[in-house]
Structure formats: C-alpha cells, structure tokens
C-alpha cells in the first residue's frame, strides 16, 4: 500500500514542477502503464502539452519509458517510478552533505545543484557551458565525485523499467536454450530464469566498476603516478570521460546516511571517541559499499592498520579507558580474577565474536591465572601500566574491542589477525537491531514505557498469552490489557487464537500475542509517509495564503535585496512563512530518516 508515498510524490511534483506534471504523474500512478494517447485521454490534457511535460519527467527518471520492438507500433509506454520521485525529499540533504565534505570553491556543490535541476547532464555539455577556468575546476570536482561514486554515469537502459529489462533478457535466454525432447519446458524456463537473473544483476552493478566514467588522463592532471593511491584505489591519473552522462547516485548517499545513523548510535551507546573510531572504520569501508542492500557477495573487511592511518592525530584514544578508583577496587578484584578464568575458558569454546581474543589481549595476558591470589592491586597496576605505555594501535584496538564485545548489538566483528586485526561489519544483523531499537523508541514515545516493555517481552518469547505476560512483566493483568489492545490497533502486535475445544467460544480459547517485525515496520513506514504528506501539504497551504508576497519574492530584484524591497508587513509575512517552512521541512527530514531506517537501509 504505497498510497501515501504516491500522494507525497504528487504533492512534491505539484509544488516543484507544476500542476501539469503532477496531473500526468497522478494519471500514471492511478492507471499504471500508459501510452501517450491514453495519458491524454485519462488526464484530459492535449497531446502536445503532455509531450512537453514528459521531457523533464523522463530526464529526471521520474517517468520511465519502454519501447517494445515486437509490439508492431512505435509507441512508447510510460511508467511512473515512485522511488526516484521520493528521492526529491533527500535532495536538500544531499546538497548539504556535499557542502560538508567538499568546499564550495571546488565546484562540487554547484554540480550537484545543477544535476538536481536537470536530472542528468552530459559531461561535455556541462563543461562547455562554463568559462575555461571554471571548467578546469569543474573537471576535477566531477572526477572526485565520480571516484567517490556520489555521481554516477547513466546508461540507456536506466531509463527503462526494470521489469521490462528483465523480461527482455529472459526471453533472449529462453530462445537461446534449444527445445529438445530431453529437456522439459519448465526446466528450460527455470534455467532461463537463473541465467537471466545473473545477467540482470551484472547489469544492475555496471556502475560498481572503479573506473566508471573515467578514462586515463592524457597528460598534466595526474602525472605523478608515484603519488599514493587514493582511498578508492583508482589511480589519480584519471579524468572524466567527456561523453559520459552524469547523474546523482542516491544509493551511495543512502550508504552515507546509514553510516551517520550508526555513528550516532555508537556515540549514544558507547561514547564519542569510539564513535569517531567507528566513523573512520565506516569511511574505510565506504569505497567498497555501493548500495545499502544487495551489495557484493564477498564480505568487506578493514584492517586496524588502515583505520589507524586514517584517524586524525588529534583524537585522543587512550584517555577513554577508565580505571576503577581504589575505593572500589579491592571489593571485586578477587571475584574478578576468578571470573576472568571462567571467561577465558568459556570464550575459548565460543565462536568468533568473543572479546577476550582481541587486541587488548596484552591487558588480559598479564593477569594470568596464577597471579590472582596475591596482591590484587599489584597485577592490575602492571596491566594498566602496560596499556599506558603501549602503542596507539593498542589503544585503537581497545576501542574496536568495545565495539565488538556486545553480542546483541555487534557494531563490528573480528575476522582475522592480519594487519593488527581484520574487522568486518555484518550489516544485516546490525540493521535488524537498529530497526528494533528505533521501533522501540517510537512505541515508547507513542504508547509509553509499559507498552515497550510488553513489546520486548513478546518479541523475545514469540507467542505468549496475557497471563504469562503479566507474570513476566510484573504488572497487573488489567493494566496490561489496555496497552495490548492499543498496540494491536497500531499494528504492532497480532493475536493468535488457539481453541481448546471444537467450538470457538471465547472463554474456551487461548489468545496468544505475537509480533511480526516486517509487518509492523511496513505499517509504521506508511504512517510516517502519511505524516510527511500532511507536513508538506501544510507548507504549501501556508505559502498559498500569501500569494502576493510569495510572487514578489520570486522577482529577481527582490531576491537580491529583500531588506529594502519589502515593506515591514511583507517582511513579517515572509518571516512567518519561512518559520513554518523551516519547521515542517525539518520535520520531514527527521521522518525521512525513519523511512531510511525502516525501508531503505
């Protein structure tokens, strides 16, 4: 049910591209695939208008087209793509992200802004439209952005709907497998399907190539090949291919947003310094991550050495290790020592993700078992001295160990020992946990802490009835019932009836509560999208209430000098409208964050 997403998208288009564009897209969303004549018929707009309006829509890939060679006629059918249109919401954040990473003088933000406007641009056209000096700056900026994969090249097939592309590949493959008595028809089809899926996935990943859109520099730009390879691995002596068509890569931007969310979570759960370390780990991984889901098959690893090199020298790693004050030490030191033994034996058996085998082993190695009887403070001090004197690498490993020690929220996992330690991130597990945490937060705000407690219990236990729930949660059953029904209404929980007898009398059935995460998240996302629709509709409404002032603001002379060209009353109106805009658009950004977590991450 992407009803709200469609509403949002039409609203955005109406505001930015105009009424006609919105109507056309609305028609396409309502009726599905249409030819030009059908669009004209259903939307009651003249053909010429529609043709005119389809141009920017196709340029931005909001509307995809397909020309079927075998259909006889030359007619193209058009299909609206809500996913591409939804990315309009993220355009502001994209620009601010680029502004953060690249200074304004480098020309990178301008490129991004222009691409947002035009949808896609051929590199040669863009450079030709600028003066010579600007063009040089732009060239290097584009190269950089291409290397970082924030820009991507477009191939012809990306203007076509994916289902049609797949069908074409499938048909070709099917035809390539000869009919024979030995092979049944269904077997042919399955084989064709598997081959087609492979080919299709290769097609989808055509931009993952490091040198996508780049060619070797003729001379000049990257002449010193002795320079160290850049992060991406492609040598700096590349420049853009002038015939390439450039467009923004929203998948890569989603990867960056995900990294930001994860960093924020680490800062909350562990600490700021560890969050900075984690940020660097993610940065080291980032060149190999092309999209959030369905990445390469091989796991991506990062070594501690890499992270160490990329860390700012100013980040103080060691001062995050705390020692218990001597007041507290003696009490638990002996129990600690015996626990240490237990843990070592215990973790020897466990698979992979134990923390004791990590780089901070030099701390625990010294605290060997035969020491624990005597001088408790003594051996702690030795271990601590060792830490203080050890290298920055050990300090780094301390932080990495902190990140990996939590089994329920594994930010990072150790997979090897080369280069000081090899680490990987299991994004699937991590994303699932992040979604759980985020959903819990939303439920807590919406329904209260008790409801969240119940949700967590139900999630843990699977299916559970009210009485058990009350017993585990230590809450009276009548309080719980209202919370459970409220959660049921939101779609967070579901009921399973288990009848005790052949009749379905309510007194003779068990009612078990359970939680289906995917379903719940989907409902939540729909609610969020609905909220976004309302936010944006409100913004438009506020603007619509002051048509004269808004029209005046669009004037060139007014834009340059608002202070003098507007009357005080008008200025006040403008201030009010801007305030409303700011508030709601900022809301939409936060809501988009939620959509990213639950849908795109």
């Amino acid at each position: 049910m992407s009803q709200y997403e469609e509403e949002l998208v039409v609203l955005l288009l109406r505001d930015i591209y105009g009424d006609i564009a919105a109507t056309v897209v609305d028609t396409l969303l309502k009726y599905g695939r249409l030819t030009l004549q059908l669009i004209s018929r259903y939307s009651k707009l003249p053909l010429a208008t529609i043709q005119r309006v389809l141009v920017p829509l196709v340029q931005n890939r909001f509307v995809l087209y397909w020309v079927d060679e075998n259909a006889g006629s030359d007619n193209a059918t058009y299909l609206a793509s809500t996913r591409n249109m939804y990315n309009i919401v993220r355009s502001g954040m994209f620009v601010s992200f680029v502004l953060d990473r690249f200074p304004d003088t480098s020309g990178a933000p301008d490129i991004v802004k222009n691409l947002l406007l035009y949808g896609h641009i051929r590199a040669s056209d863009y450079l030709a439209a600028q003066s010579a000096s600007q063009a040089a700056v732009s060239k290097s900026a584009i190269t950089l952005l291409l290397q970082r994969k924030l820009l991507t090249t477009l191939r012809r097939h990306e203007f076509n709907p994916q289902s049609d592309l797949y069908m074409r590949i499938f048909k070709r493959r099917l035809a390539a497998i000869p009919r024979s008595k030995a092979v049944s028809e269904s077997k042919r089809e399955t084989q064709a399907h598997s081959e087609a899926t492979e080919e299709f996935s290769v097609l989808k990943r055509v931009h993952d190539d490091i040198n996508d859109g780049l060619v070797a520099a003729a001379n000049g730009i990257g002449s010193s090949s002795k320079r160290a390879h850049s992060l991406t691995g492609s040598s700096p002596s590349k420049t853009i291919d002038e015939s390439a068509v450039l467009a923004l890569n929203h998948d890569k931007f989603a990867v960056h947003m995900r990294a930001q969310i994860l960093r924020h979570l680490v800062a909350q759960r562990i600490g700021k310094v560890t969050a900075a370390v984690y940020g660097k780990v993610l940065d080291c991984m980032e060149p190999k991550l092309f999209r959030c889901v369905d990445n390469t098959d091989k796991a991506i690893t990062v070594t501690s050495l890499e992270v160490l090199r990329s860390l700012d020298a100013s980040i103080e790693l060691a001062s995050a290790l705390a020692v218990r004050s001597s007041k507290k030490r003696s009490r638990s030191a002996s129990s600690r020592a015996s626990k240490r033994q237990k843990r070592r034996h215990g973790t020897d058996d466990s698979a992979g993700e134990s923390d004791n085998s990590m780089g901070s082993s030099n701390v625990s190695d010294l605290e060997s078992s035969h020491r624990h009887d005597d001088n408790e403070d003594g051996d702690d001090e030795d271990a601590d001295d060792n830490f203080a004197n050890s290298s920055r690498m050990e300090h780094l490993n301390f932080h990495l160990a902190l990140l990996s020690c939590n089994q329920s929220l594994p930010f990072i996992t150790k997979v090897g020992n080369k280069g000081g330690g090899e680490w990987t991130i299991d994004f699937d597990v991590l994303t699932a946990r992040v979604r759980e945490l985020e959903y819990d937060k939303l439920i807590t705000q919406k329904q209260g802490a008790i409801a969240c407690r119940l949700l967590r219990i139900i999630r843990d236990k699977g299916r559970i009835d009210e009485k058990q729930l009350a017993r585990i949660a230590l809450l009276p059953p009548k309080d719980i019932r209202s919370q459970l029904t409220a959660l049921h209404e939101i779609g967070c929980l579901d009921l399973q009836e288990v009848p005790r007898g052949t009749d379905r009398a309510p007194s003779r059935t068990y009612y078990l509560w359970y939680h289906k995460p995917k379903c719940a998240y989907a409902l939540m996302t729909q609610a969020v999208l609905k909220t976004m629709v309302r936010c944006y509709a409100r913004v438009i409404e506020e603007r619509g209430r002051r048509p004269s002032v808004m029209a005046k603001l669009l004037r060139e002379d007014v834009r340059l000098d608002e202070l003098n060209m507007l009357t005080p009353a008008e200025r006040e109106e403008v201030r009010r409208v801007r305030g409303v805009e700011e508030r709601f658009i900022a809301h939409m950004a936060k809501l988009d964050n939620l959509v990213l977590i639950f849908r795109d991450m």
Partner: protein, 344 residues
C-alpha cells in the same frame, strides 16, 4: 497382616476416603480438656492406655504402623489390638490412614476429636477434606465433587464451619474468582498468595517499581565509570581539552569525552552480587529469593535499561537508552512529530 475387622458404619466414610500423603498435624491447641475427658471415659481401660501412650510417648502427629502399636501397648494378639484401635476410632481419637499399601494410625488430640464429634456427618466430611488440603487450600467445587454432596449441603456445612471459626476463606492469586478454604489456623502457601510481589493478593506495583529503580541504580553504578574513576592515560593538556576550573582554580576537574571500561572488564555485577546488595541494603523486610531477583533483572532487560554480558553471567547498564534520560527539549521535539501523525 491380620485381617482388619470391618469398621463400624459410622466411621467408614471417613476411613475409606483418605488416600494420601500426610497432612500437617494441627498446631498444639490449648489444653482445655473440659469436654475431652468425656470421650476418654467412654473407652475401656486398655483402650485409654493405648491412646495415652500414643499421644504422649512420641512427638505429635506420629503415625503408627500396626507393628509399632503392638510394641507400644505390648499386646501381641492382633484381634485384641484391632478391638482397641476400633474403640478409639469410634470415639474419633485415632485416625486411620493409608501409607502406600499399609494402613497406619494417628492419634488425634482430644479437643480436635471433640470438635469433630460435635459436627454433623456432612460437616465432618467437609472438614476432613479441608484439613487434608493443608496450606494449599481447597476449592468448593472440589469439595462438592469429592463428597458428592449437593451444592446447598456443602454451602451449609462451609457456613457453619466458618461461623465456628474452624476454617477460613482465602483469595488465590492464580484464580481470583475461586473460593478457596483452608483451616483457620494455617498460613496460606506461597503459591496461593503469589510471592513477594503480592500484598493482599494484589500486585504491589509501587514496591516493584522502587525495587527496580534500586537494582538499576546499583547496576549502573557498577557498570559506568563515575567521577571517582579516572582515565588511565589522562588527556593531554592542550587548548582543546575540556577542563573545568572551579572557582579557586586549585582543583581541576577534567570533563572527559568518553570514559569506558575495557571490553574484557569483568567486574560487572552478577545476579548473586545484586541479590546480596538488595538483602544488605535493608530496603524491605520481605524475603527475596534469587529467582525474584532474576525476575526483576529480566524486567529491567525488557525495559531496555540493562543488558547481560556472557549470556546472563553478569549485567551491565545500557548508556543513554532510557527515555527518562532524554531532556525535555528533545522529548517535546519527538512529541511534535506525532502531533501531526495519523494515529489520532
């Protein structure tokens, strides 16, 4: 074993319908023996001797097998022995029980025997069932089923027994609508009253929440470095370091960006430690078992406030996870998103 003479009709019902493990004997009642001699006088001399010996020589409630009784009174003739036992049983001074396959006997206090003799047959039957249920108590429906008496008859008996204060009505925690009866002198078992969380058969939510916050604060104090702890390697003196200077500038307070225990830190509190802490803190007079503490810790985990390390060996508080920690500004920010939400 010699054949047992068929007991007299009056006491048959009671004797035959007691297949069980022993109930607790009723606590010592006051020694008012005004009516009790009355019963004893009806017995023959040897029967009286046997009874007295049964009552006096060994601890109360002792169950005698036939061989033991033979030894006690010194009469080896089984027929005569049976006669004496029968006499006592007729007076209600001795009760016959079944332990496995054997029959055995228990002496009943004179006061109790008086009580039972004074009741009607139905009442006595109902009373015996209630007595046999011990501290668990028994449901009216069960009494009705076992005695096969009519509902109104059972009700009448219960009413009269209650008025005589022999039995009392208690509320069960598991089944709040059921009427459970037990002997007036006994204390209901833990099962029925629900354990430490229940006061007057109701869940004591304030008590629970206060316990939860105490346990949480303790776990937090043990898992997060506090002001007393300091960094092993102090941050370098540079312009960027956050250092707070107090008014007289003699003492420097260092504000850390982050202070954490290492990943292999093992002094997080365990369940036993926490239990000890709660016991010694004297927060409550109620006895809390380890399982109660575990229940509390589970609730805290489900609240998202603590987490387990080592699969439940130790517990650690989660940083920044509780909604209470959020400042009011942030909280209102989130609220306002929902004010435009669709759930209205």
């Amino acid at each position: 074993m010699p054949s047992v003479k068929a007991p007299k009709a009056g006491s048959s019902a009671r004797a035959a319908s007691q297949p069980y493990t022993m109930p607790l004997s009723p606590p010592a009642s006051s020694a008012s023996s005004s009516g009790s001699m009355h019963l004893l006088e009806n017995l023959s001399q040897p029967a009286q001797t046997m009874y007295n010996k049964m009552m006096n020589s060994v601890p109360e409630g002792h169950i005698y097998t036939q061989t033991e009784l033979t030894e006690l009174v010194g009469i080896s003739d089984p027929l005569r022995l049976m006669g004496l036992i029968q006499e006592n049983m007729n007076m209600g001074l001795v009760k016959m029980l079944q332990q496995g396959d054997d029959l055995c006997y228990q002496a009943i206090k004179k006061e109790d025997a008086e009580k039972i003799q004074a009741m009607t047959k139905d009442e006595a039957m109902v009373y015996s069932y209630i007595e046999s249920s011990g501290t668990e108590g028994i449901w009216t429906k069960t009494i009705k089923a076992k005695t096969n008496l009519h509902q109104s008859v059972v009700q009448r008996c219960l009413k009269s027994l209650e008025s005589k204060r022999y039995i009392k009505n208690i509320k069960s925690v598991k089944y709040p609508t059921r009427k459970i009866y037990m002997l007036a002198s006994l204390q209901p078992s833990i099962d029925v009253t629900g354990g430490p969380w229940f006061t007057d058969s109701e869940l004591d939510t304030e008590f629970i929440s206060s316990l939860l916050s105490i346990v949480f604060r303790y776990v937090m104090s043990e898992s997060i470095p506090t002001e007393d702890d300091k960094a092993l390697v102090p941050p370098p003196r540079s312009k960027k370091t956050n250092r707070k200077f107090t008014k007289n500038e003699k003492k420097e307070e260092i504000v850390y960006d982050q202070l954490s225990y290492p990943a292999n830190y093992s002094a997080y509190p365990s369940q036993t430690q926490i239990h000890e802490f709660v016991q010694t803190s004297g927060i409550t007079t109620v006895e809390l078992a380890q399982s109660d503490i575990k229940a509390l810790l589970d609730v805290l985990i489900y609240d998202g406030k603590i987490e387990t390390i080592d699969h439940g060996m130790t517990y650690r508080a989660i940083l920044g996870a509780t909604a209470d920690d959020r400042t009011s500004a942030e909280a209102s920010e989130y609220d306002s998103i929902w004010s435009y939400g669709p759930f209205l």
